[in-house]
Subunit: 264 residues, 2 copies
């Protein structure tokens, strides 16, 4: 848990060291005068000065935007736009300039290839754009994303019911045990007995985008308040010696292969 202002000074200064520019001395001088934070924010358009200015958002209002945006730009861009469209109004730059609509391709687990759910991918993009990558000197963008991946995998989704739903019938909820679109959508389709192109499946995915945006804003608000603590306790690389989820037996059955391990 880091104070945001201190965190900003540290991450900007560290970035300048990493980038090998000559700006460090000036940055430190400004920081000494208490001026670096406001300077970084005042320049507005500099998208590489982290963290980006953030104001707390209402999770339900954000979810409602994501739900409706799904029908325009699908899951990934809907989550990004649900946060950035509000910050564009409340803060301005760099949100006003960021090309959120470019991320329509996150749909269907990236162009229909069923990899990471676009809602989770969009949330990861938002957290890391606002807070910065772990190489910028703060780990909280990375940690919030890991929390989103685990929350997405373990939660009965969707959790959010829109105020004016396009489908009035009650939709089932399912736990995916995975952040993959193919598995998340497939488990829900099986439970609902609805095809991919049904209006029910589409509305379920719009609600998953809304649910993910809701959770993301809860975490960002905690971070803004200095109250965020990482909860994800899973590292497949550490535990199993390979990147992955914790649903090994979903695909491997009883015969989970052992990857090559370091000689001890």
């Amino acid at each position: 848990m880091l104070n945001n202002d201190r965190n900003n000074v540290e991450s900007v200064a560290r970035r300048q060291v990493l980038a090998g520019t000559g700006a460090l001395a000036a940055g430190v001088a400004l920081a000494g005068l208490g001026g670096l934070v406001s300077t970084a924010h005042a320049t507005g358009r500099d998208m590489t000065a982290w963290p980006w200015p953030y104001r707390k958002l209402d999770p339900a209002a954000t979810a409602e935007i994501a739900y409706n945006e799904w029908y325009r730009v699908f899951c990934g861009a809907a989550v990004i736009n649900s946060v950035f469209s509000q910050l564009k109004e409340k803060v301005g730059e760099p949100y006003a300039s960021f090309p959120s609509d470019a991320f329509v391709f996150l749909e269907g687990g990236q162009l229909g290839w069923g990899t990471i759910c676009g809602s989770a991918a969009g949330a990861n993009i938002v957290a890391n754009l606002i807070i910065g990558p772990r190489i910028s000197g703060t780990s909280e963008g990375h940690e919030i994303s890991a929390d989103i991946m685990q929350w997405y995998s373990e939660t009965e989704l969707p959790t959010y019911t829109p105020k004016k739903p396009k489908i009035t019938a009650r939709l089932p909820t399912t736990t995916s045990d995975s952040p993959l679109c193919h598995i998340s959508v497939g488990r829900w389709m099986k439970a609902a007995n609805k095809p991919l192109k049904s209006k029910e499946r589409k509305d379920r995915c719009a609600r998953v985008a809304a649910s993910t945006a809701f959770r993301l804003v809860e975490l960002l608000n905690q971070w803004k308040d200095g109250d965020y603590e990482a909860t994800s306790d899973f590292s497949c690389a550490k535990e199993n010696g390979i990147t992955g989820q914790y649903n090994c037996m979903d695909c491997h059955g009883e015969n989970v292969p052992q990857p090559p391990m370091p000689k001890t």
Copy 2:
């Protein structure tokens, strides 16, 4: 295949219609004078005017940058930076402002969760940022990304050998049949009998980033020349009624389930 200049005029004009702004009349007037394209590019920092200005790059030089950047920012951000760092020099904005380093989190299939390989995810981001999303009135960013997904899955990777490799031993190449990090890395680790944290596995992934950047720039150069034609012929949704790859039996074995299908 569309001429880029015509495409630019069409997509900008269509975006203004979609955005519901009053700029269409002005845009059409400028287009009538042949001025819209240069105007869109002259504003420079507008990241939502597609396509972004692009100059053809050398695939091998790009691959070399991606290889070395992997050791700083890992797969996804390495691919993004390999293209954008050159266009920042050759073109300037909006590449100079884009926060490529924020995408470090694409590492390990997003934070080690083994979903989409960061190299493919980074290439998809680049193609859609430069050319624009399919809702902007052009489908070629979407199509290049689909081509990258299929190329990645079908190709013995890595294809690119760096000029000054950090590992001099010959590394095996493997075909993943999937764009997922877990499967791509796992198949290579099995073939090489090397653990995840070995210097050989790391250098293999740096070379995969380089190989993907090479292929991406080949496709972007074709697009710039007006010679690009989509080659990906795979749609899991159309063929199987669910998002996914074409490696169904990798996980499902002989018992590939039938998803709920539309009543005919």
